[in-house]
């Protein structure tokens, strides 16, 4: 779970007319995500959150982003952050770089979460090679807690660098019950993710 929860609340509360509401994602239908050439086909129904974490990302949930959240990063360009800055002046987020190796992506992700959520208790647990979108990719698992709650959260991510841009899908859920239950739905999304040429 990320700032989308708060971002959604604040954008909603200030009633900006441009904010899209949450929409339904149908099962078994291919859909392009994160305003990018990446297309996924979920095996069950999801909800797409109206508020986006950043320019080239979007989030889906089943029961609410505090309980299960899949986030798509569609082609993060060099020198861009993963999501919106929290406080650019005093706590700037790290940026993706064109020279980065796949092994640098978990570190980029971890530092981004640590800073954005202001939590020191974030850990990358495992890192492994894999294939994603037809390219060499890195897959990693992580655990963390948010500052304002004691719920332990677990997550998984898969990332590839294609034509110098970062493509990634992440999954976030409380360690108690939800992570186990919804991993399969996340894996199904990743398995059928493709990138248009």
């Amino acid at each position: 779970m990320k700032r989308t929860l708060w971002l959604g609340a604040i954008l909603l509360a200030t009633a900006q007319p441009a904010l899209a509401s949450n929409t339904l994602i149908a099962a078994q239908a291919p859909v392009a995500v994160a305003k990018s050439p990446m297309t996924v086909t979920p095996d069950r129904e999801w909800n797409k959150m109206g508020a986006r974490p950043g320019r080239n990302s979007e989030s889906w949930t089943i029961d609410g982003d505090g309980l299960n959240e899949v986030t798509f990063y569609g082609g993060i360009e060099p020198d861009r952050t993963l999501f919106r800055e929290v406080n650019k002046h005093s706590t700037p987020l790290p940026r993706f770089s064109s020279t980065m190796l796949l092994t640098d992506i978990p570190a980029l992700f971890e530092a981004s979460y640590r800073i954005a959520l202001n939590t020191p208790v974030m850990k990358i647990d495992t890192v492994a090679p894999t294939t994603f979108l037809g390219h060499k990719a890195v897959q990693f698992a992580f655990t963390y807690s948010r500052v304002d709650e004691e719920v332990r959260r677990r997550g998984d991510a898969v990332a590839a660098i294609i034509d110098g841009k970062l493509f990634m899908i992440t999954f976030d859920a409380p360690d108690v019950f939800y992570y186990q239950r919804d991993m399969a739905a996340y894996r199904a999304i990743v398995a059928r993710a493709v990138i248009a040429r």
């Binding site: 987020l93 020279t99 492994a128 004691e150």
Partner: protein, 400 residues
């Protein structure tokens, strides 16, 4: 005893405020009257909330419960403020990269690992902890709470909607950290910690503790000096203006830090008292912890600030571990010249410690990122040294 407690406090405060303008303002330390019990509605409310939070705090994920480390820090506390005072303190060490320590009115003290990392020795740590204890002894927390409420009323009438945020599930442990560190009182929407005057009083009382202790009084201005230098480094790295010489702003509640260092330096010199800094003991006690805290620090994306801290810890003597940390820092930022520098640092590490497998890993990754094929060689060396490494499969894939 209760009434006596307040009389003691009033005596100290009177001393501090009256002597502020005189040449030798450090008060004589009054005997400590013992644990204080909350009086009145406000205090009991504050106590209750803090006690309630302390319960959940003990089990929080961010609290470090290592007994030897806690005992060591508690010992420093006792060497600083004396046995009578330090018994009131219940110490908690919290994993957080900020330079901070705070004390709640019921005796709960929170020390951040960021402070433990940045303090160079026992004396510097003692100075900061003593300062927090001084706020506690002077009951500043409670007075600050009442002061804050009046300020809030004024703000509301001026048309600023000071709505209190409300929470769903109730309180939790990390709230305590923020509560304690930002304001030391229980109001959710509250603003500032202590007034500038209170900070001055606390500084003076801490100098009194320092004088009565075995520590070198210069530790206090030293730690503030380096805090300023580090802030300069951070600002420089982010191409921002340094706040060093700014006058204390409206929302800035510490006396301008430069003014503070100057005053404390003058007091320390006037005291003319020798003392220890406990650096050797400190280095030994923290040896097993620094790697984790430096790692937390590197992940803050504050390159120059972290580099400054590493240089301070190392001094003239870069151990392989500190060199390795520096190399990781440079490689993480990853600009072309950073990668070149990192390669140099990693090479230094393996020259001095050929068994340092992670240095070969870092070397290989830095070289690969610079499109230097020699990186594959270094990574192969790493895999030979650590075939069962967590990321062995990933590294293998890189060199295929």
């Amino acid at each position: 005893m209760r009434g006596g407690g307040w009389r003691q406090v009033a005596a100290v405060v009177a001393l501090l405020t009256s002597q502020a303008a005189q040449a030798e303002p450090i008060p004589t330390l009054p005997p400590y009257s013992g644990a204080y019990q909350p009086q009145g509605v406000d205090e009991r409310g504050l106590w209750m909330l803090v006690d309630e939070n302390e319960r959940s705090f003990r089990d929080s994920t961010v609290v470090i419960n290592d007994a030897p480390l806690k005992a060591y820090i508690q010992q420093i506390m006792c060497r600083m403020v004396g046995a009578a005072r330090c018994q009131t303190v219940r110490l908690y060490i919290v994993r957080d990269t900020s330079f901070n320590a705070s004390m709640a009115p019921n005796g709960m003290m929170i020390v951040h690992t960021g402070l433990l990392l940045r303090a160079r020795d026992e004396g510097e740590l003692a100075a900061v902890l003593g300062h927090e204890f001084a706020h506690f002894e002077l009951r500043h927390t409670l007075l600050g709470f009442q002061q804050g409420r009046k300020a809030g009323d004024i703000a509301a009438w001026a048309g600023v909607a000071g709505a209190a945020a409300w929470t769903y599930g109730g309180r939790n442990a990390y709230d305590t950290v923020r509560m304690a560190r930002s304001v030391q009182n229980a109001a959710i929407g509250s603003t500032y910690a202590h007034t500038r005057n209170q900070e001055r009083q606390a500084d003076l009382l801490s100098m009194a503790y320092l004088r009565a202790s075995a520590y070198d009084p210069h530790c206090f201005p030293d730690v503030w000096d380096r805090l300023l230098d580090k802030a300069d480094a951070t600002a420089h790295g982010r191409r921002q203006r340094s706040k060093r010489y700014d006058r204390a702003g409206f929302s800035d509640n510490h006396p301008t830090e430069l003014e503070r260092t100057t005053t404390l330096r003058r007091l320390a010199m006037a005291m003319n008292k020798p003392g220890e800094d406990g650096k050797a003991r400190y280095d030994m006690a923290l040896a097993g912890w620094r790697a984790q805290w430096i790692d937390d620090e590197i992940k803050r994306n504050d390159f120059e600030g972290t580099d400054y801290i590493l240089r301070q810890i190392a001094g003239p003597d870069w151990t392989p571990d500190l060199l390795f940390a520096r190399a990781e820092l440079y490689r993480t930022r990853g600009h072309p010249h950073d990668l070149a520098a990192a390669v140099g640092f990693y090479r230094d590490v393996v020259a001095r410690d050929p068994t340092h497998a992670e240095a070969y890993r870092g070397l290989g990754l830095a070289q690969l990122r610079s499109h230097d094929a020699a990186g594959a060689e270094a990574l192969r060396t790493y895999l030979t040294m650590k075939p069962a490494a967590e990321d062995a499969a990933m590294i293998s894939m890189l060199i295929q």
